[in-house]
Symmetry: C2
Subunit: 247 residues, 2 copies
C-alpha cells in the first residue's frame, strides 16, 4: 500500500463545491470516479486539506489517498490528467509516508480573492473574479487589516452554519495588490472557518467604501456576532491558493 | 436617425460564432434581440467589422447600427450592458456620421492568439488559450515570419471554403512574446481571410517544431495551395483584438 499526495488545480465554476453530495457534480466525486476506473471498480476515498464551496476555485488544493497500485509518481500524474475532466488538473504527485494527512498535517493555508476593478464587466473573467468597480479607500482598508491579523476568535467572520466549537484562528498575513485591472487579496493563516475569507473580503470592501470604519474591527471581533461584519463576497472570486506542510 | 458605433468584447466559448445562424446562439442574434427589446419589437440589424468563428473571442470587435432613439452614448452603453448576456460586454458607444461602416471603413485589424506553454493544462484558461507544451524554436519562427509579413496572395493560408476571389492581403506585423506561462502572437493586417490567422499560427507552430523550415514559407505562399501550409490552430486561442479606422 502506498500513500499519494496530489496538488490539484480546479475551476470551481461547474462544481457544487469540493465535497461529495448526492446527485451533484463535485471535485471529490469526479476524482474518486477516476480512481475507481484505475482500480478496476474498487472504491478509493480521497482526503483533502479542506472543502471548497460551490464556484470556489483551487490553484493548489492538496489531497491524499492510498493505493495498492505500483506506479511511479510521474506516471500517476499523466494517468490522472488523461482521465480527469478538463476543469481539474493534477499539478504534482508525490509518494508520501503512510502517516501523511492532507488535512491534519496542513500547517497553514493561503487563499486569494480576485476583484475586477474596471468599469465594464470583463467577459473572460466573469466566473473567475468578482466585478466591483466602485471607489475604494485603500488606506482605510490597510488600517482595518491591522486589527484582523493575529490570533482572534473569528465568530463574527464565519457563517452562522459553522459547526466547529473553537473559532479561534491565527491570520499570519493579509495584503492586497493591484495587477492590471485586478485587485488581489492574499490571506495566509493556520486555518479558516466556513465562509471566513469571503466575509473578510466583504467586510474590507465595506470599509473601503466607508460603510464601516477600520477602528470598528475591534468591536466586530469582540461582539462574536456574524451580523456585525460585512457581506459574504461571492464564491467565484475565491481561490484556495496553496497549502503548506512542515516537511 | 442616428448611427452608433460600439466596441464589444465577447467570450466566444458558448457562441456558434458571430453571425446569425438558424437555431444557434450567436453574438449577432443575442445583440439584435436586445435591440429589438429596446425598440419595442422593431428589427434593428447590426453590422460588424467581420465575422468570428465558433469559440473565437473578441476583445475589441466593432459593430454599427442605426436607431431612431434619442439616447446619449453613455446611457446606451449602460442600457446595452444591463440587457446583454454576461458573455458580451459593450466597452464603448459612440455616435458616428451616417456614412460610417464597421466593415467597409476598417483600415486594419489586430488579432491575437494565446498559447499556454506550461506542461500541465491550465484549468482557468482552457477555453481561452491553446495548450501547446511542446518545445518551439523561436529563432526559426522569427525567420518564417519575415517571409509572411508584407503583401502576398494568401491562398495557401485560408480555408478551402473561402469564397472571396481576391486573396491578396497585406500583413503589417507579426510578432510573438511570452507573458507568464503564455505565448502570445500578434497579427496586424489590412484584412484576413477565412481561418487565415489560425492557419498562420498552426504553420508557425509546425516551423517551431521543425516540421516545416522557415525558408519553405516562400514556396508555400507561391503554391497557392492550402495543403502546403500547417494545421488550423483551434478557435479557442484566437481573439479579434482591435479594429482600426481612419478617423
Amino acid at each position: 500500500m502506498k500513500r499519494l499526495k496530489c496538488i490539484l488545480s480546479y475551476d470551481g465554476t461547474y462544481f457544487s463545491g469540493y465535497q461529495v453530495q448526492p446527485n451533484k457534480r463535485t471535485v471529490q466525486s469526479e476524482f474518486e470516479e477516476v480512481l475507481m476506473k484505475m482500480h478496476n471498480g474498487q472504491t478509493i476515498k480521497i482526503h483533502a486539506s479542506g472543502r471548497t464551496d460551490a464556484h470556489v476555485h483551487a490553484y493548489g488544493q492538496v489531497i491524499h489517498f492510498d493505493t495498492p497500485l505500483n506506479i511511479p509518481a510521474d506516471r500517476w500524474k499523466k494517468a490522472l490528467n488523461s482521465l480527469l475532466p478538463e476543469d481539474i488538473s493534477v499539478k504534482e504527485v508525490q509518494i508520501v509516508p503512510l502517516d501523511f494527512h492532507a488535512r491534519f498535517q496542513a500547517v497553514s493555508k493561503e487563499y486569494r480573492y480576485k476583484i475586477i476593478r474596471s468599469q465594464e464587466r470583463n467577459v473572460f473573467q466573469r466566473h473567475h473574479a468578482y466585478h466591483f468597480p466602485y471607489p475604494l479607500d485603500y488606506v482605510e482598508m490597510k488600517e482595518a487589516i491591522k486589527y484582523l491579523v493575529g490570533t482572534h476568535d473569528f465568530a463574527s467572520f464565519c457563517s452562522a452554519k459553522t459547526e466547529v466549537e473553537d473559532k479561534v484562528r491565527t491570520i499570519y498575513e493579509i495584503e492586497f495588490f493591484e495587477e492590471k485591472d485586478e485587485l488581489i487579496f492574499r490571506f495566509v493563516g493556520d486555518g479558516f472557518l466556513y465562509n471566513m475569507v469571503r466575509i473578510l473580503v466583504g467586510t474590507l470592501l465595506d470599509v473601503g467604501q466607508g460603510k464601516i470604519k477600520a477602528v470598528e474591527m475591534k468591536n466586530i471581533l469582540e461582539s462574536k456576532s456574524r451580523e456585525k461584519a460585512g457581506k459574504t463576497a461571492p464564491g467565484h472570486g475565491l481561490y484556495l491558493w496553496q497549502v503548506h506542510y512542515d516537511n
